[in-house]
Symmetry: C2
Subunit: 351 residues, 2 copies
């Protein structure tokens, strides 16, 4: 049995609790043994030491095979934790330093999950799509500035930077994922009618890469039109590829319509495998319920499945997926603790 | 009876049909007489002449008191009509040239309208909010560029430009609208944790202007969190103020959850009254059903009500509103022609 080095960043709030369950399930499901190294990063560390992501820690993490992250974030509106510190200093820093150009977010309406959409919409078909969100460019590059700050003459800018290199690799990844799915359908989402420079680049590259995937059907929608379809006919989507900010917006709506971010898993993937990829539930650290064994670890466990799939163990990933599906469809109204849910899913994996 | 000069841009597709009904209702509802001047602008004119918005036409429009627009846009994927031509050359050009800094989009779930949201979500409360979208800055300024176009080394940028002047006037307008509503609640929407430059500016100005409106409750949400709330608890919103692109995205989702863009009205407003404001339904030109009297003119008629309100006739606007509400709550399944709907609403206004 080979060994895989796994960086574990449990984080803040409910992060450690859900991470424990994800590891519990990974241990029983994985064909490889994980050598775990824990990294204490997040709001707590920042508040205690002022450190967000020390260079030495980053250097160590870069040597790992994969990263499992729980959730980071402190109490809402903590004056000692200005907005952006953890997001830009830790989460986005990892995505950029580890070149996570594929931000992968599957959206499925699981059995037993409650969608806020009406039955007439849900009856149109099964909701099962994947958003491939570009993770290293766009408005997330920190290419902004401000002048005359605090005066009536302030000017603040944010620049979305898009490169042929960056767009092509994520579009190609999305095509490959579409080709591997039964419906083989890819929807490019942008705002080409307004953002004509970036839009033309995304459009042109998508047309070019499409030639390599003649069996994939390609479709285009403006970001505003996507909002309408996600609310009225989400079953129409198979694979969506889009830029960083549109992907951020789409995936939260996608999570909401499939029963909430409590079940949404994600991968921050470096498909070229130069750096370790990172897997995390989409939900936050929920400090209000931390340490009470109230958090649902399902999204963290599903993120573990994405991790296994990325590491080349699709069968093991499928076993976790099936165990989660079975658990979800038999969930009653009786509340279970975080570790009870993990135990139940782990038992289904081994059983 | 005083006279008001009204520029009418019927546009393409169903534009002329819905505009005719909006004018029909305006005529019976308005306390002032409208002196109409029609401007033939849109896809048809562009395809026939290559002209989008001649300078002389723009100069004339600038002298009018208000503008009523139907819809512009040609057939989807017409190779002779590249994306962006009409959007940037006509719609956005008017918004920018006429300094329409308040893009106003009311979102109400009307009686009889079918929301794609589940009853459990709708039961949480009445959906009745207004989005105040900034209309002259942000990513819509055309501040982008591209280099090495068409090569593997292309770089394309889009810059969001935000000024204290631009943010303050729209935020102040939004506060005033919130203050005039029963709930007096304002939600600022941005992405301050990533777009720290523009985000700080929006945040600071909102805090500053809030001091002038002590009776308005202020709240902040990230754009991604707004997606979740619009899908799971839209009743929580009263007035939303946000930038140009976030506003574009939010308002289409808002229209979708309140029964579709077929009912959504909008105003492109220059609150300082230096230039004429423009009122238009949110829907497009729907070329597939053009000329068949199939289009629902309700959104155009409601845009006429916004126009009257802006021109200082809130009672007349309320009469149109009430007539539309009454018509909507008594709509049966029997289809009516575009002009039958207009007749019915006009009759309620006069009756
Ligand atoms: C926390 C924040 C920086 C992040 C993002 O905007 O990408 C989050 O919203 C997400 O979607 O992972
Ligand atoms: C047509 C397009 C330029 C426009 C926009 O993006 O503002 C439209 O989507 C809208 O919301 O009015």
């Amino acid at each position: 049995m080979s060994t895989t080095n796994l960086a574990v960043i449990p984080g803040d709030g409910i992060g450690p609790e859900v991470t424990a369950e994800a590891l519990k399930v990974l241990e029983v499901a994985s064909p490889v043994k994980f050598e775990q190294t824990r990294y204490d990063l997040g709001a707590e560390r920042y508040l205690a030491t002022g450190e967000v992501l020390p260079e030495s820690v980053l250097a160590e993490i870069k040597e790992q095979d994969a990263i499992l992250l729980g959730a980071v974030g402190g109490k809402p509106n903590d004056p000692n934790l200005p907005p952006g510190i953890l997001e830009r200093g830790l989460l986005l820093k990892l995505r950029f330093e580890l070149d996570h150009y594929v931000n992968l977010r599957p959206s499925r309406l699981f059995p037993g999950a409650t969608s806020p959409l009406a039955p007439a919409v849900l009856d149109k078909g099964e909701i099962d799509f994947v958003v491939v969100r570009e993770g290293t460019e766009g408005l997330y590059t920190g290419n902004g500035g401000a002048m005359r700050v605090g005066t009536p003459h302030e000017v603040a800018t944010e620049t979305s930077v898009n490169t042929a290199f960056g767009v092509e690799r994520v579009v190609r990844d999305a095509f490959a994922r579409a080709q591997a799915r039964p419906r083989k359908k890819l929807t490019l989402v942008h705002k080409t009618n307004v953002l004509v420079n970036a839009g033309s680049l995304w459009w042109r590259i998508t047309q070019q890469v499409a030639e390599e995937f003649p069996d994939v059907t390609v479709d285009y929608l403006h970001i505003d039109a996507v909002m309408i379809f996600l609310a009225t006919d989400p079953a129409r989507f198979d694979v969506i590829v889009t830029d960083n900010i549109f992907g951020d917006i789409i995936t939260d709506l996608a999570a909401a319509i499939t029963g909430g971010i409590g079940l949404a898993a994600s991968g921050n993937i470096n498909s070229s495998r130069e750096f370790p990829s990172m897997f995390e539930p989409v939900h936050g650290s929920a400090p209000d319920i931390a340490g009470q064994q109230k958090a649902d670890p399902t999204a963290a466990i599903l993120s573990g499945a994405l991790l296994l799939e990325h590491l080349g163990h699709p069968e093991a990933a499928a076993v976790i997926d099936a165990a989660v599906l079975a658990d979800l469809s038999e969930r009653g109204s009786e509340p279970r603790t975080t570790s009870e849910v993990g135990d139940a899913i782990a038992a289904r994996v081994t059983g």
